[in-house]
Amino acid sequence: MSTGEKNPKTDVLQGTLDLLVLKTLETMGPLHGWGIARRIEQVSENALFMNQGTLYPALVRLEQRGWIRSKWGISGNQRRARFYALTANGKKQLHAEEERWDRISAIVSRIRQPLPEEGAP
């Protein structure tokens, strides 16, 4: 990607890849690997870089855990592609991950910015 060289890109944060993939599948419905990568990059406005060497093994792992399932189908441009979809278990997992993420980010931001209520009289 030519744009890649202009903006410094962040690798997907350790441990958040699951969340991103599951969330993407929840919003977009069944999607192939490339679609997932593109979607994440687009939504992050190309700030996140999806390494394929991470994405495909991650998809295998999520499938092994029963959070997503895959099926071969025909893509929009009439090619055979493997589509991934969220399972009921995956949905549960997604919500758990989201909650956890919210909690952590709340904590992190609270630590980073001294709370105005405390400082103000």
Binding site: M1, H32, A37, N51, P57, V60, G66, S75, R80, R82
Partner: protein, 877 residues
């Protein structure tokens, strides 16, 4: 952490790898195409778009690798790969594989077989609840100057029971045999007389009926019997209606009150099948000096054997305040039961352990030798990036495979050899303990197999993992570790040492057996028949005497009988009376230091029949009575020990001491010593009295018959004669004296047979091992030999050089082995007959054997080395 479903999915994935990989490739290709198209849409040329897509994708192959690690179980897979590699390489070397597996199978098989026996006979807990709390109690005291232990008298038992604080219960019993009358013949069945407390003490109730009640331990109410399950099935067809019926035991009707569950034994590991009440009469109840009871106890919870020991010693001191040498020994029943068996089996275990070590050393040799050949292959792997552990693992997988194969073959071998062991050991093994393989044995076999494999493989693996890449790639025939002159080979030394130890052990046993044949037992065991006769019912000594006197007369009427006599205890069977006596005119000895002797009641022809020589005086005359005031004969040992410097003839002695002393009897003869307790024990002092003495003439006596024919051929006629005289008499333990003598050395025989077998196996293993090392060495030094010969070495010199190397290692090994045999000679002395376990000649023969074998095993490789053509050897790089 891998979840189970994920693990399963990854495991299963291995089986359709090809489809999965194709799918991944499709998926990645699709990804690339999408990326390319996207790039084209952004305005790149097709080619540019393609390369940009490839660039952004990153390493195709790397992605695949990471994906694979995720998709399958990479560690398992690499083990599987190693396994396949090992299988292939073993299949390529069938001879190596066959020999390695056979070596291990021999070692593992012998160990497994022996462990099976050890497990069944020694380790298995006794078949009672909480068996570890059961103990055996003996009285201990000084007995004519020596510390000894003895059975327990009734008054002492009573005091122990009343005063102890250590035992929940204690119970006395005696062993013996009874005549069980049934259809046709009267059977002799092993029986125990027991106190009623015994069954609750053991904690095993009868399967059928009830156990003995306390008031049945009283004379007159004791006509009840408890049967073993085996006897009940065999003799009474497992008839449940037997309870309440009567059977004739020793001619008296006894009511069957109970049948014990299958597998019940008491005493443990015995063949006893009937339990009847033990009763005490007026005499035994008060006779504190009459030691005849065996006693078991169950420790109270929380009481350790040592505490019980202290408690009992204090009681003994109260009983014998004047003699502090009295005590009580409290020993675990299990240990008491299995001690003798355990000793033999441990000696054998030492032997088979050595065989296994030899097998391991051999396999280590073979692996090392083969690795020389594989060096180039391993170096290639190493060069391609295989780490040290990866290479070690490869070799370990190979030896583990050998170990597992050896273990399986060994298990089969053990299964077969258990039958052999049963046949060899025969009556030697304790009865009623089935030797079976079970889960414990299988675990043992597995562990031994894996450990041997590791032992055999670890050293070569570690050594060969340090591969010098350059030199290994350059030439496969390098003499990196030393060449011909490097003469020390630890493995060869170990093999020689181990086989020497086994050979010495086997030689000692074989020579002991041969010594047995020529051993002087003090009588002539050839052409002598012996048997026990038991009369039914109770008899007075007078009645028994008259029966046995008539019996002897009748036996003389049998054609071929040249001598016949009666005695209370036949020599060599190692039963004893352990009695004390008083010598007229001597000071009263301190308690515990009274003169002691074995006492034998005999009919007049006993010495002539047995062939025991008269040293001085005369034999008993017919008609001489056993009563006090009569006569006695002493053996040479008693004469030496108690009448040194005096002539015993004409001196007077009396059985018993102090208040229990009988009337005086005059010594009229001195006879030769007899090995009363078998060949391994020194002859004890013996006093002979004429048949009829009330203590030593009972309903059950032994007969001895001399004949010029085969003694066994007389048995039928003897049986008929005795039956005519007394139809209810039981004849048992009918055997030639030669067999009795042989049986007394059955431990030695068992050891000699098994040790011979094991040492033969050891020698073969060692020989093949030495041959293997030397051939390997020679083949690796072909180049060196070529150089030496090119420089003028003669073939003879090369031959000598290789042979010397083999001999040198064997000598060092033999020396180490010798030291070991000397250090452990005390253990084996118990089974050695007629010589010392440190015997020199045995060692000389063994060392010679080892050296000859080492020479023989090195000769073929040495000869091959001497045939090397220098030109060929030097060209052949």
């Amino acid at each position: 952490m891998i979840r189970r479903s994920a693990l399963l999915s990854r495991l299963l994935a291995v089986f359709h790898k090809q489809r999965l990989e194709e799918e991944l490739d499709d998926e990645l290709r699709f990804h690339l195409q999408m990326e390319t198209e996207e790039n084209i849409r952004r305005g790149m040329s097709a080619e540019e778009a393609h390369y940009a897509a490839r660039r952004s994708f990153g390493g195709f192959q790397q992605t695949r690798e990471i994906w694979r690690d995720r998709r399958y179980l990479p560690w398992l897979e690499s083990w599987v790969k190693d396994l396949q590699f090992a299988l292939r390489s073993l299949a390529r070397a069938p001879l190596f594989t066959l020999f390695a597996v056979a070596s291990l199978a021999l070692g593992i098989g012998a160990n497994t077989a022996l462990f099976t026996a050890l497990h069944a006979l020694v380790l298995r807990p006794l078949p009672y609840p909480q068996p570890e709390r059961l103990v055996k109690l003996w009285e201990t005291s000084m007995w004519h100057g020596q510390a000894g232990w003895s059975a327990v008298s009734v008054p002492n038992l009573r005091d122990w029971r009343e005063q102890n604080a250590a035992f929940g219960r204690i119970a006395a019993f005696t062993r013996g045999g009874v005549n069980l009358a049934g259809r046709g013949e009267t059977d002799r069945v092993s029986a125990a007389r027991v106190e009623s407390d015994l069954f609750p003490l053991l904690g095993v109730p009868p399967a059928l009926g009830r156990a003995i009640l306390p008031d049945e331990n009283i004379d007159g109410r004791d006509r009840v019997a408890v049967l073993s399950d085996g006897l009940w099935r065999r003799r009474f067809g497992a008839d449940r209606g037997m309870i309440g019926r009567t059977v004739a035991i020793d001619g008296a009707a006894h009511t069957v009150i109970g049948v014990m569950p299958p597998g019940f034994q008491f005493p443990p590991r015995s063949d006893i099948e009937i339990w009847v009440p033990l009763t005490f009469n007026r005499y035994t109840r008060e006779a504190r000096g009459s030691h005849w009871l065996e006693v078991v106890g169950r420790l109270r919870p929380g009481v350790a054997p040592e505490m019980a020991q202290r408690n009992m010693n204090a009681i003994a001191l109260r009983i014998y305040p004047e003699d502090p040498t009295h005590g009580v020994s409290v020993l675990p029943l299990h240990g008491e039961t299995v001690r003798a068996t355990a000793q033999v089996l441990l000696v054998l275990f030492g032997a088979v352990g050595f065989v296994l070590l030899l097998a391991c050393a051999n396999v280590a040799h073979l692996v090392l030798a083969r690795m020389g050949a594989q060096k180039r292959e391993l170096a290639v792997r190493s060069a391609l990036g295989a780490g040290r552990w990866r290479i070690v693992r490869l070799l370990l997988v190979e030896v583990l495979l050998l170990g597992v194969a050896g273990g399986i073959a060994g298990l089969a071998l053990a299964w077969q050899s258990l039958r052999l062991l049963g046949a060899l050991a025969g009556g030697q093994l304790p009865p009623g303990a089935p030797i079976q393989m079970d889960a414990t044995v299988l675990w043992f076999c597995l562990v031994v197999a894996l450990l041997s494999a590791l032992l055999a493989g670890l050293v070569p693996a570690l050594r060969n993992s340090r591969i010098d890449l350059q030199s290994a790639m350059r030439d496969a025939t390098g003499s990196a570790d030393g060449g011909l002159h490097r003469s020390f080979s630890p493995l060869m030394v170990c093999e020689s040492a181990l086989s020497l130890v086994l050979v010495v052990g086997a030689l000692l046993m074989v020579r002991s057996l041969r010594n047995m044949e020529h051993l002087d037992f003090g009588f002539q065991p050839d052409r002598l028949l012996t048997m026990k006769v038991a009369l039914s019912g109770t008899r007075t000594a007078r009645q028994s005497t008259s029966f046995y006197e008539r019996a002897v007369e009748k036996l003389y009427a049998i054609p071929g009988v040249t001598g016949a006599a009666v005695i209370n205890l036949v020599p060599v069977q190692s039963s004893h009376t352990g009695s004390v006596f008083t010598i007229e005119g001597r000071e009263t000895p301190r308690p515990g230091n009274e003169p002691g002797a074995e006492i034998r009641a005999i009919s007049p022809d006993y010495f002539r029949t047995m062939g025991i020589p008269l040293i001085a005086g005369r034999f008993f005359r017919p008609g001489e009575i056993p009563d006090p005031g009569s006569v006695a004969i002493v053996n040479r040992c008693a004469a030496r020990r108690y009448f040194s410097g005096e002539d015993p003839l004409g001196k007077r002695i009396a059985f018993g001491v102090g208040d229990g002393r009988e009337g005086w009897r005059t010594i009229v003869g001195i006879v030769g010593n007899v090995a009363e307790e078998g060949a391994q024990s020194p002859a004890p002092p013996v006093i002979y009295a004429p048949l009829g003495h009330p203590v030593w003439t009972g309903a059950s006596m032994s007969l001895v018959l001399r004949t010029p024919r085969d003694p066994a051929s007389l048995a039928g006629a003897v049986r008929r004669s005795i039956r005519e005289l007394e139809p209810g008499a039981a004849l048992y333990l009918v055997s030639s004296m030669k067999d009795v003598v042989a049986d007394s050395a059955s431990n030695t025989r068992l050891l000699s047979q098994l040790l011979t077998l094991f040492s033969a196996v050891a020698l073969v293993l060692a020989m093949v091992g030495v041959y293997g090392v030397m051939s390997h060495r020679v083949s690796r030094c072909t180049h060196e030999i070529g150089v030496r010969m090119a420089l003028g070495a003669e073939r003879r010199q090369v031959l000598g050089m290789v042979c010397r190397r083999g001999l040198w290692n064997a000598t060092v090994g033999a020396a180490l082995g010798l030291v070991w045999t000397l250090l452990t000679s005390a253990i084996i002395q118990r089974y050695v007959i007629g010589m010392s376990a440190t015997n020199i000649a045995t060692r000389v023969i063994a060392v010679a054997a080892i050296l000859v074998l080492a020479l023989a095993a090195s000769f073929v490789p040495a000869w091959r080395a001497s045939r090397v053509e220098p030109a060929v050897a030097l060209r052949n790089e």
